[in-house]
Amino acid sequence: MSEQQHILTSFDRDLEAIQAMIMKMGGLVEQAIIDAAISLERRDEELAEQVRRNDRAIDELEERINEECARLLALRAPAASDLRTVLTVMKISANLERIGDYAKNLGKRTSVLVQMQPIDGASGAIRRMAIVVEDMLKNALDAYVTRDAELAAAVRVRDHEVDQMYNALFREFLTFMMEDPRNITACMHLHFIAKNIERMGDHVTSIVEQVIYLSTGEMPDDDRNKGDNTSYAGKKD
């Protein structure tokens, strides 16, 4: 957003309201990621249930943001950076909503996993992965608020880190399952959790790409180095 104020101050108030909602939504999603990971590590069913319940607030915010954006488009006919702000907000809120869903899914799987024998080291590794994603999201939202394309580009690169963590976990779970078939159920759930966190990273990447579009007017086009190669796991050379 430009530093200057609109001549019509109610236009500024509309934009600020949308901005406040997206920040609130971002805060809730960050909390959901951390809580979901902690509930898994501490085998805390109560906290996992809370993550699932809190997802409703995230969904409601997405809906309100969409309504406000539609209103602003219809009534204000925003142009240039104002238009890009509205378009970006709509996409970011959709990304945040998806991340919230993944966190909720993590909560659901946690309530199953607490009834099983824990897998060595898995929940710690998943928590570390979640912390990286949460930190990326925090920076992505900071980059959005300050319209900082450089910070956004830096976040975009870090998705590689998450992909690599997921790769390592993928192999680890495969080993556990081969060692003892009784691990399969737990490892399948844990694998989905890891995959979901990896997907969260992709959504954060999409958010920072929107931030880059917002601040520069153009989408980044250079190909990132993709770290997730598990799609080829087991392939013979």
């Binding site: 430009s2 200057q4 104020q5 609109h6 001549i7 019509l8 236009f11 006919a77 925003p78 142009a79 240039a80 950076s81 104002d82 238009l83 890009r84 007017g217 153009e218």
Partner: protein
Amino acid sequence: MNDMRILERDVDANKVKISAQNCDVYYGDTHAIKDVSVDISDRTVTAFIGPSGCGKSTFLRCLNRMNDTIDVCRVTGDIRLDDQNIYDSRVDPVQLRAKVGMVFQKPNPFPKSIYDNVAYGPRIHGLARNKADLDEIVEKALRRGAIWDEVKDRLHAPGTGLSGGQQQRLCIARAVATEPEVLLMDEPCSALDPIATLQVEELIDELRRDYSVVIVTHSMQQAARVSQKTAFFHLGSLVEYGETGQIFTNPKDERTESYITGRIG
């Protein structure tokens, strides 16, 4: 989005109709237009936007030498219509204005019948050999002005008896009756209601098939709706000129951004 719409936006493919280079305009001591260079494409609607007093109307009026009528006004630089300098001493301004027609802010029909309003130009320029010819020209112009159906039964009623929107479309019909190549419009819709405005905008889009249209407008939404290229003027200078979609989604100049987003600039 289909290919046709994208093709339609590719206006740079059209040839240059009017080319202005290093134009300056002075009203006495006031430097109203400062070194403006712009190429206006054929078969394209070009919108001039900018705050009041930025020089957009003054510049528009240079394009058919309407500023000649103002004693203290001095125009320098090079303005070419199809590669001919329009300020050349051999150019007859009356002939020039037949080629470069103009529609004004307020509808200004002559105090004559609807028919005579349109027939006036073709008559003085000798475009019709006989009455049948003239009838045909008048009908064609009124059809182009998208007003034929509304007035065909009362062609000999006074033009001033029409509604504002009809009067403006009559003036557009009058402007196209002499078969101009360029149509200049100085805020053609500022005195019209929203529906009449849309009718005139639809008409502008149709006229684009045959003419180069240049429109000065205070309504940025109108510029966005009807034009393919937009020029933003500020304090007598041309700040930014580009494809309309680009100007309204991603302007390159901060002053353009401030103006179109409604911030103090």
